[in-house]
Every structure is written in C-alpha cells, then in structure tokens.
C-alpha cells in the first residue's frame, strides 16, 4: 500500500515536473521567436554578412590595408548603453551595421539601457565588456570601488543646457537668482551647482531648485523658469512642440539658452569605459583596442553621413521621429567634433575641470560627486592614440577640423 502510494506520488511529482518544463519551454520558445521578430534587423544582418564573410574581408583588405588579414573567428563583445537606442549612440550602431566591428574581428552586442540600468555598474559586475557613461557619474562609481577606466573620451564637450523663456530675463547663470530652476537630480545637476557657485549664489537660499521630469512640460506650462535640457534631446522637444497661441511650432527665438560649457562649468559626458582589472589581460586589451578603433570609424562615418546614420539608428528600433533623430545626430556630432587632439583623446583641461567641479561643488545636501581626486589611471589615451594612428593610416580624418554641422529642421512631434 505504502509503496504503491509512494510510486504514485513520484509519478504525480514527475508529471508535474514534466508539465512545468514543457510550459516553460513553450513560453520561452514563444518569447524568443517574438524577440527575433522584434530585433529583426539587428539579428538578421550579421548572419547575412557572416555568410559572405570571406569575400568581404578580401575586399576590405584591398581597400583598407590597416584591417587584419581575415578573421579566424569573431571575438564576442558587449557594449552597455545608458539609454535606449537613439542617435546619441549612432557611432556604435553604424560600426556594427556597416561591418567596422566585423572588419576588426569583433561580434558586438549592443545592450540597451533602462531606467534602473547603471552602465558602469553593469561593466564592473561583468555584465558587459564595455560601457558608456558620463565621466562624473563613472568617477563616483570608481571612488566607490568599481574598477573602471575611461579608454576613449568620445564626447569632447558637455551638451547640457539650461533653457528659459525669452521673456524671462534669464540670460546667464547670474540671472538664476530668485528663480525656479529645474534640474534632473540623480547626478545630472552638478553643472548647475558649479554655475551657481561661480556666480556667488547660494543654492539653498538664492534660487529655488526644482526636481524636473525628463520632459519639458514644466517649462512650457511656466511652472518653472528654466529647465535643464540636453542639446540633442530635450531642447529639440521644445522646438517640436506647438505654441498654442500661434498654432505654429516654437522657435529658437522663444527661448534663452544657457550652455554650461560656455561658462566654464561643463563636465565631460559620454566616454567608453573598460574593466581595469581585465585590461592587464592581453586578449582583453587587444579587444579593447579593436573595439575603440572600430567605434571611432563609426563616429567618423556618422560625421560625414549624418542622414544615413540617423536612418541606421531608426532601423535598429529607435522610436524617435525622423527629424528628431537627425537633429540628435547633428547635435551629437557637435559634441564629438572637432576633436582637436584626435577623436576620443582626453582634453586634459576638460578632465581637470570635470574633476574640479566633482570635488568642489556640493549639492543641496552638501555632497560632492567625489571626495578625493581620482588617480591618473582613471583614464588612458593609449587606446585612442593607437586608434587615431591606425585610422589616419587608412586615410580617415580623425580630428574633424573642417567639420561643419548640417541644418536640421524639426517637424511637429519630431516626425
């Protein structure tokens, strides 16, 4: 009796187990097929290129003497972005879709960010091989123990603005006195504190600092006097919105724009970060070198072909409208180019300024980004210099001295 009962019990359990397995297998196969459908372009293209690989590499060899002689195999590598796919990351998507990574024998997976994804943390935990991050935030993580190194300072200048209405009388940070100043918080606010400090204003009493959403509604509703905005995103959102009084889109004349970079308080933003401990490993260092070189090639391509790069980004699943995407591409190009010392090479003065503000501009709680200066190893130009030399050999312009941005007309809603 007991034995029979036990064997039945085992049967029930094993049946249940099989059922659960089958169900989970079903659901996982469902979702994976869904995923392939959703990321059609991203998945299909490399597969096609792989098939034709031998011919392509031969061609590449003829055209580009710097490229390696055929790849024995592609090294997989992943890049963690700060946010969803958008033109801010165009250079990497271009390098992937145009085969620059493949020419350098890398199979790159680009990991999109999310609300709670902190790229430098993902990198430090080993969830990605490389990550993009703003310098001050990454330095804060570094001070808290994340072993990460800035191996390419892709954005040479800050893209943070403070935008006010043209009739507000706010024309420079000195005019912030007594006004409601929107800021994003979460480590995006230190340029504001540095600007206030420079003007001798006390952030606690001389201005009213307001936590701002990641949209421009509060400014348009005149709930705040000046809003924080990125040149390549939120500022464009303003110019895509319809002025209810005229029925037309707002224009640049409707706003006063304060560019923090002009007031000497800009902080360095998007840079490629690598795992410090792994850089001692020759294979990883080699991978980092190839990754940086190919990424730069992507950025150079996007400088010369902004329209095509905007389309590449959209094809990779960006939800942004075409004119907004192109605007972002163009503004991001302005942050990368010109790169007087070569693309990705750290401007020591900008680094020092970023570190200085990170150390000496406390926020409302009295906290600074970092408490002690980062060591010299926090960034290296080694990879960027080699990449610049290689790309120059290939006949590419790596400084973009003659770079001139295009004119982008924004449509309603960025369409």
């Amino acid at each position: 009796m007991r034995n029979i009962a036990r064997s039945r019990w085992t049967q029930v359990v094993s049946l249940a187990a099989v059922g659960v397995l089958a169900l989970s297998a079903c659901s996982s196969s469902d979702s994976s097929s869904e995923e392939t459908a959703a990321e059609e372009t991203a998945v299909e293209e490399p597969a096609v290129e792989e098939d034709t690989e031998p011919e392509e590499t031969e061609e590449a060899e003829v055209e580009e003497p710097a490229a390696d002689e055929g790849c024995a195999e592609l090294t997989p590598a992943s890049l963690q972005l700060q946010w969803f796919v958008q033109a801010q990351f165009a250079g990497y998507y271009a390098a992937k879709d145009l085969g620059f990574y493949e020419d350098n024998c890398i199979d790159v997976t680009i990991l999109e960010g999310g609300v709670d994804i902190v790229p430098q943390t993902v990198l430090a935990q080993g969830g990605a091989d490389f990550a993009l991050a703003w310098v001050p935030k990454a330095l804060a993580s570094r001070e808290q123990g994340a072993g990460i190194v800035d191996i390419a300072q892709v954005f040479q200048r800050s893209g943070t603005l403070q935008v006010a209405w043209a009739d507000s009388g706010i024309e420079s940070p000195a005019d912030f006195q007594g006004k409601k100043i929107g800021n994003w918080g979460f480590g995006n606010e230190y340029e504001i504190f540095a600007a206030l400090g420079k003007e001798g204003l006390d952030p606690a009493s001389d201005v009213e600092l307001v936590q701002q959403q990641f949209d421009m509604v509060a400014l348009l509703n005149r709930e705040i006097d000046a809003a924080e905005a990125m040149t390549y995103n939120e500022y464009a959102q303003l110019l895509e919105a319809v002025n209810p009084d005229t029925g037309e889109l707002y224009t640049a004349d409707d706003f006063n724009v304060i560019n923090y970079a002009d007031y000497g308080v800009g902080m360095l933003q998007d840079a490629i970060w690598a795992d410090e401990a792994r850089l001692g490993d020759a294979d990883y260092a080699d991978l980092a070198q190839r990754f940086v070189t190919a990424s730069f090639e992507g950025w150079i391509y996007c400088r010369d072909n902004p329209q095509e790069c905007a389309e590449i980004v959209t094809a990779n699943g960006s939800q942004l409208g075409a004119s907004h995407q192109l605007w972002m591409m163009n503004e991001v190009n302005k942050l990368v180019w010109p790169s007087p010392n070569g693309i990705g090479i750290m401007d020591a003065a900008e680094w020092d300024q970023t570190v200085d503000i990170s150390l000496n501009s406390p926020n409302l709680e009295g906290a600074t980004v970092i408490t002690s200066a980062p060591p010299a190893e926090a960034y290296t130009n080694q990879f960027a210099e080699t990449a610049n030399a290689e790309l120059t050999n290939m006949g590419l312009d790596t400084t973009g001295e003659g770079f001139s941005p295009i004119e982008v007309t924004l449509n309603e809603g960025g369409a």
Partner: protein
C-alpha cells in the same frame, strides 16, 4: 413495448423541459452579462465625462492641478493619437504598436505567472508536509517580497547577463519573466499553505482511521479543501505577474513590451502628450485580459464546489 411508448414522451418532455430550463438559464446569464457590460461601459463613460469636466472647470477657475492640454489631453485627442503613424513613414499606427507590445507583455506575464504558480504550489506542499520547512522557508518567502523591485531588477539582469548554459543564453526576456514569477509565487505559496492546512481535525482523523498515507491525505483531502484558498491567491498572483512584467520592462528597458513603450511615449510627452495615454490604455487592457483569464480559471476550478451565491 407499451412501457417504452409511455416512457418515451415522458423522456422527451423531460428533455424539452431541461432544454428549456437550460436556454432560460442561458438567456438569464446573457441578460445579466449584458447588464453588467452596460454598467461597465457606463463607468468608463463616467470617467471620460469627469476628465473633460475637470478640464473645462480648469479653464474657468484655478484648480490645484494643471489641466492644460499638455498634462491632460482631451479624450478625443487620445483616440486620434491611436490612429497616428508610430514614427513618420511607418505603416504601423500607434495603436498597432501598443497592441503588439501588450500582447508581448501578456506572454511574458503569463510565463512568469506559470513559473510563479508552479514554484508557489511546490513550496506550499513542502511547507505543509515538513514543519521544519515551514519554519525555515516561510520567513524567507515573506522577506523576499520586502526587497524593492527596482533594486532587484538591475541585479537580476546583471547576474542573468552572465548565465550561459550550453546553447541557452540568458536574455533580458528571461529576466522579465523571472521578476514576474518572483512577485507571482508569493501570494500563491502563502494562500495554498493556508488551504492545505485548512481541513478540520475531524476530517484528518477520518483519513487517519482509513490508514491513509500523508500523500493520500494531501491528494484526497488537503488539496481539494485548499481550492477556495488557491483561487483568490491565483487572482492576486496574476495581478502581481502583470505588475512585475511592466515594472521589470520599465526598469530594465527590455524592448517590445508595454513597459518600454510607456517610457518611450512618456519621453515624447512634450510634443505628443496624448500618445502616452494610448500606452496606458494598453497597460489597462493587459490587466483586464489577465483578470478575465483568471476568472475563467476560477469558474473551472470551483465548478464542483457548492455555490455561495447563484450566478
């Protein structure tokens, strides 16, 4: 012969009356269903009217909330936004995108729900069976729900990214399902445990007098008597799996689902304030579909139980 001749009309009359009774029941149910549908629609209509009233009122007197078209778009603007192309030149409308995203989130939520239910039931059975397991596991089960999801989500994605078993590579899709399951298992394990412990001592003694093994007691007594506890727990679990899916999608930016769409559209609020509401409708629809599915399951599971109230 005569017997059957007599009996036949009787049976057919019986059959007819049963059939008539059935169709009457059906008609009553349909009418009840129609009426409750009307009430539901009336509720939706009321919300729409209230929304527009508040907006209209905001134009006349200052209200403590902003009623501009940017923060509170007109209901008809929201409906118009459904038909707009998602991005310029795309054949997909916003509504198409929202429906596709809702369906994908539904799949993920359902996957998470199934895993959560399986794990929850298993834990409940183990905890009921072994006292030491209940003493040892229950605190962890409860503690598991006190961890904030937004702290957990990046962690799961971070750890998951490194998992690779043979050809199976952990993707963020699995992370979303894991998070949904993580929320879904709790109500079920606690509810089922209570249900399994529900039989009265008299019933248990009866089973013992039959020399029933513990396994038989579980199958024949404990499990049937736990159904009234499991059904409401399933409802809570289903809701939790939806919440878990959407929050996980938002938090980790997983592409394709309604959570990601909410964020994408929310960022376009400056120029297209109505668009995000279409995604909100999608999220609501997701919740309603899951609730309907669980109700259907409820009807099936409780078909043999005495009805407390007539349908």
């Amino acid at each position: 012969m005569t017997n059957t001749a007599i009996a036949d009309p009787q049976t057919s009359a019986d059959g007819a009356s049963v059939g008539a009774a059935r169709s009457r029941t059906f008609a009553r149910r349909a009418r009840n269903g129609g009426i409750s549908l009307l009430w539901a629609l009336a509720g939706v209509g009321l919300v729409i009217v209230m929304w527009e009233l508040v907006k209209a009122l905001g134009n006349v007197i200052p209200l403590p909330l902003n009623t501009s078209d940017m923060t509170m778009p007109h209901v008809w603007t929201m409906f118009a936004a459904m038909g707009e192309p998602e991005v310029r030149g795309s054949e997909n409308t916003v509504l198409d995108a929202v429906i596709a995203a809702t369906f994908r989130s539904l799949l993920l939520a359902f996957g998470g729900f199934l895993i959560g239910v399986a794990v929850g039931l298993l834990l409940a059975v183990i905890m009921q069976r072994f006292l030491f397991a209940e003493r040892g596991l229950l605190p962890f089960v409860i503690a598991s729900q006190t961890v904030p999801l937004i702290a957990l989500a990046p962690l799961i994605v971070g750890i998951g990214n490194q998992i690779e078993i043979g050809p199976i590579k952990w993707t963020t899709t699995y992370s979303v399902m894991f998070i949904a399951a993580y929320l879904a298992f709790f109500p079920l394990s606690v509810g089922a445990l209570r249900g399994l412990q529900a039989p009265t001592p008299t019933s248990l003694e009866l089973m013992r007098s039959y020399a029933a093994t513990p396994n038989q007691t579980v199958r024949k007594l404990r499990f049937p008597s736990s159904i009234p506890y499991i059904v409401p727990a399933l409802k809570v679990s289903a809701a939790a799996s939806v919440v878990g899916t959407v929050v996980a999608e938002i938090s980790t930016g997983v592409r394709g689902g309604i959570g990601r769409l909410l964020i994408e559209y929310a960022r376009q609020i400056t120029s297209q304030p109505a668009k995000v509401y279409v995604a909100v409708f999608g999220a609501i629809a997701l919740g309603l579909v899951v609730a309907a599915l669980v109700t259907a399951l409820d009807v099936y599971l409780t078909r043999n139980l005495p009805k407390e109230k007539s349908a």
